[in-house]
């Protein structure tokens, strides 16, 4: 791997405002009624002892991606930087990858009839040393992104300081998106 990308999502800073989702839609021309990233919120507990769960839904860029191994045409593939991409030309929309993805991160683009998902904005931004659109737009700095090998980077420093949770870690998929869990309110 040439890069060790990581996207950190701090639930304590996230306010569920959906700026990330709209920024992604603009940047990637995501069609209406489907999305690559959204934050879902859910009230937990019984009045007045409550908490709010903030959950980011997007591709988590697995180190061991189930979507890649099930793809019959190699349309889903892993780049040398360890990112998971989809080659539109090879995709036959068989939806195996959609079923295989434990994070429900993939969908059919209804205009192109191919499978799509978050790419970390690799083509348009990250490959040009820019931050992904969601990270750049977030009103509260809840997202940070970078190469973990750069020790001085915010993503590295925050990773050292905070307790990180990797979604569905028990599946062994090794996601590159990590969560800093909410410290306030009822948790379940």
């Amino acid at each position: 791997m040439q890069k060790q990308y990581r996207l950190l999502y701090d639930e304590n800073l996230c306010i569920g405002c959906q700026a990330c989702s709209v920024a992604c839609r603009m940047e990637n021309s995501v069609p209406d009624n489907v999305y690559r990233v959204q934050v879902h919120m859910k009230t937990l507990g019984v009045f007045p002892n409550l908490g709010m769960q903030y959950e980011r839904h997007s591709c988590v860029m697995c180190e061991n991606p189930p979507c890649v191994s099930v793809c019959p045409t190699n349309a889903s593939f892993q780049s040398k930087d360890g990112l998971v991409h989809i080659d539109e030309k090879s995709c036959i929309s068989c939806k195996y990858c959609i079923l295989a993805c434990p994070y429900h991160a993939r969908f059919i683009n209804p205009l192109k009839n191919v499978v799509e998902k978050c790419t970390f904005c690799y083509e348009t931004r990250v490959s040009k040393e820019l931050l992904p659109a969601c990270v750049s737009t977030c009103p509260t700095d809840a997202l940070s992104f970078g190469d973990m090998r750069q020790k001085e980077s915010l993503v590295h420093q925050k990773s050292q300081k905070e307790v990180l949770v990797f979604p569905k870690a028990h599946l062994g998929t090794k996601p590159k998106v990590a969560f800093i869990p909410n410290r306030k309110g009822i948790k379940s």
Partner: protein, 761 residues
């Protein structure tokens, strides 16, 4: 709470794509495909998806997409922006948006139109307004707008025309705060969230009513384990979920809670005595007024345990002066709004946090900085909007002897309009010019307002959409969106002065116009073109900047201009020292403790001091001179209170129909506690009625633990009657339809907490 699929019941995401089969006259959709003419590089400007006016930057990609992000030349922004701001292009490109002037052909409100040229529309408006002036006098025409540059412009136009009846949205939003500040400090103050250590928040919902610099500061505050945020709100809002403590206070009872805080501090002598002695008047009257307001007393009113008040009082005093009791950005909940907001300001005063780090502070405007520096370090601006005072009484009696004597003549009370029109008292009203103002959605009792509008001879609405209010017009002017407008310079002063300027990102689609162009054209046609020293936007900007080419260049390139003035807090010695080092002449203004204390000795109040007690108010409104427990009932005998507020993806009455935002939140089911729902036999998604003496409105129920059982909540801006807003038409409930036209005492705020019954459908 939740947007999105996690709660399908709450948020019905549209399942169909584009399907508008009948085209709206004058709409962008009627034009067919349009390519955007704009540059493929970032242009810095100012957002207008809400009133926060965040600095932003935008660029056009391939003549099609407009990418928008925060303007990082404004350092508190970075590239951050909210969902509404980022979705700007979704409004620009909305096929349901208006791009051609419309003239009414059916009966008023019937929604029958024909398209017209700009020349025809403007000529008709100038002829009609001139005729109304001749026949009934200029005062027979009302002008209204949201505050901001457009309001300044319209106010100036009203003044040139000769009408005293100019209205802003103040009475439906910040009027209580503005009034409380005027009568306490003589001007408005701001909050230093980033340096505070303890914040007590009364429903100031910065995580759903976003203002990026403030929201960001509050997010970092609430996520910091060494700081403390306490939120009192009947609803488990997003900010409540981020608090260290959430107290589900009974709706309308904030005043009781604050009075008991004041009681504890004064009882125990735990307040900043030196500050109170040196800078304020009226402490003794306050002391008398809060004698009975014990923590025990407030318990039955607020539902918050007396011990909690004792503890919070002690914690805040320990944190003082790095503590803030937050007054919010919209305070229109009860009849006692003025008292509530004054009590909050006075709580800050007792904590001695004025002009202290982590406390509250006066705006450091260019004029103030230049005075303190004893030299001209920041360019000052000319006012391009002249407004000679019209010496006639206003229709609402604002500024005259009587119950509205303390209401600003420049902002007025919107709730007074229907009665004045219908009763023709104090005089006949015949016309109305509204710019981007939608009172049929955002102001109380729109049914009555509509009835009144039907009586008028001529109505002009300037808007992006054929809104509920626009439907009542004779002429609808399709305004250019903010992405298509060049405008003048606006001031943003916090701890140091900042200017910002709106620069056009794309050429206006179908030659839509800016209000500046519209007003200039109308003034010319109506024979008072000489009222303005400028002829077009370029001249306006140059006039405003007093020909300062460098300032204009900076604003064109960067969208914002700041002046490297060190942030100044007058009662913080290190800050004053830094300022004096930079501007040596200012050393002379320092007092013996090295502070600029003189700033607080010559305020624009009658006494020149901070007024805890206001003799002027006591004289006109007995018992109102200091905060007291009055008028906290918001139920009017009904079993439930309906409250309302914002979501992060919509603004008051403006954004609900914008495609990308509508996809995120397309309706407003009413929040209800499970026990309440059970008592009325309601299940998630059921239809029911909200009923009171004013109206009976259909609603859908959203059942959640996140609300008091005696309280209901609705997001604002839904329940639209306008068929041209195809995505929102007839979806959700307009809570304004249940509100009375009664105003809060003294300050004139619209009252948005209202008693209702739940009636099964």
């Amino acid at each position: 709470m939740a947007y999105l699929q996690a709660r399908r019941d709450f948020l019905k995401i549209a399942t169909t794509g584009v399907s508008a089969s009948v085209l709206i006259p004058g709409s962008l959709g009627a034009l067919g495909d349009v390519a955007l003419k704009g540059e493929d590089k970032f242009i810095r400007s100012v957002c207008e998806m809400c009133s926060s006016r965040c600095p932003m930057e935008a660029r056009v990609v391939n003549g099609k997409t407009v990418l928008i992000q925060g303007n990082s030349f404004a350092k508190e922004m970075g590239t951050s922006l909210c969902a509404k701001g980022v979705a700007g292009a979704s409004q620009l490109y909305d096929p349901q948006r208006l791009v051609t002037p419309l003239i009414r052909v059916g009966k008023r409100g019937e929604n029958k139109w024909r398209e017209a040229s700009w020349d025809e529309a403007l000529s008709l408006i100038s002829r009609k307004f001139s005729a109304l002036k001749e026949r009934y006098g200029a005062r027979s025409v009302i002008f209204s707008a949201k505050t901001g540059e457009q309001y300044d412009l319209l106010r100036s136009f009203a003044s040139a025309y000769g009408s005293p009846n100019i209205f802003s949205h103040w009475s439906s939003c910040p009027i209580a705060i503005e009034s409380a500040f005027a009568h306490t400090f003589g001007e408005k103050l701001y909050r230093d969230f980033e340096n505070s250590t303890y914040i007590l928040n009364f429903g100031h919902n910065l995580f759903e009513g976003l203002d990026i610099p403030l929201t960001k500061a509050m997010a970092h505050f609430s996520a910091n384990p060494s700081k403390k945020l306490v939120v009192c709100d009947p609803r488990f809002s997003i900010i409540a979920s981020k608090a260290d403590e959430w107290h589900p206070i009974k709706a309308g009872s904030d005043l009781a809670f604050i009075l008991s805080l004041l009681h504890v501090w004064i009882r125990d002598g735990k307040y900043d005595k030196r500050f109170v002695d040196e800078y304020t008047i009226g402490f003794d009257q306050l002391s008398d007024a809060i004698k009975e307001a014990t923590p025990q007393w407030q318990q039955t009113l607020t539902g918050i345990d007396a011990k909690v008040v004792e503890r919070i009082a002690a914690e805040m005093y320990a944190a003082a002066p790095r503590c803030i009791i937050d007054w919010g950005h919209k305070a229109t909940t009860t009849k006692a709004e003025f008292q509530r907001t004054r009590a909050i300001l006075i709580a800050n005063i007792l904590m001695g946090n004025v002009e202290k780090e982590g406390g509250i502070f006066f705006a450091k405007t260019a004029e103030r900085i230049n005075t303190l520096a004893c030299e001209k370090v920041v360019p000052e601006l000319s006012d391009p909007y002249p407004r000679p005072r019209i010496n006639e009484p206003r229709l609402d009696g604002a500024g005259e002897e009587g119950e509205h004597r303390f209401i600003s003549r420049s902002h007025g009370i919107l709730q007074a309009i229907p009665d004045a029109i219908l009763s023709q008292k104090p005089y006949a009203i015949k016309g109305w010019f509204l710019t981007r103002h939608n009172p049929l959605v955002t102001v109380a009792y729109p049914q009555k307002m509509k009835e009144a509008m039907e009586q008028l001879e001529f109505i002009v609405v300037n808007d992006v959409y054929l809104s509920d209010t626009a439907m009542m017009a004779d002429v609808v002017l399709p305004e250019a969106t903010y992405l298509e407008r060049d405008e003048g310079i606006s001031k943003y002063s916090f701890k140091s002065p900042v200017y910002a300027m709106r620069n056009r990102i794309v050429q206006p689609i179908n030659h839509t116009k800016n209000l500046i162009e519209i007003i200039r054209d109308l003034a010319e046609r109506m024979g008072f073109g000489s009222h303005y020293a400028w002829k077009n936007i370029t001249e306006l900007r140059a006039f405003q900047a007093k020909g300062d080419a460098e300032l204009l260049q900076t604003l064109l390139m960067r969208g914002v201009a700041s002046f490297d003035v060190p942030p100044l807090l007058a009662r913080c010695s290190s800050s004053v020292e830094r300022f004096c080092e930079r501007y040596p002449k200012s050393h002379l203004l320092k007092d013996t403790q090295g502070l600029f204390s003189h700033m607080l000795h010559s305020l624009k109040t009658p006494s020149g001091k901070i007024e805890i007690f206001s003799a002027e108010i006591e004289k006109a409104f007995k018992g109102y001179g200091v905060p007291r427990a009055v008028d906290m009932d918001v139920t009017q005998g009904y079993p439930y209170v309906l409250t309302s507020g914002k979501s992060a993806v919509h603004t008051n009455g403006h954004t609900q129909n914008i495609p990308y935002l509508n996809m995120l939140l397309s309706s407003n089911p009413i929040w209800m506690h499970p026990n309440t729902a059970k008592a009325h036999g309601l299940k998630m998604g059921d239809t029911f009625y909200l009923q009171n003496a004013i109206s009976k409105e259909k609603a859908t129920v959203f059942i959640t633990e996140g609300i008091r059982p005696d309280t209901l909540f609705a997001y604002m801006g839904f329940g639209r009657d306008a068929p041209a807003l195809k995505r929102t038409h007839a979806k959700g409930t307009n809570p304004s339809k249940l509100l009375s036209l009664e105003s809060a005492t003294l300050c004139g705020a619209m009252i948005t907490n209202v008693g209702v019954n739940i009636v099964k459908a």
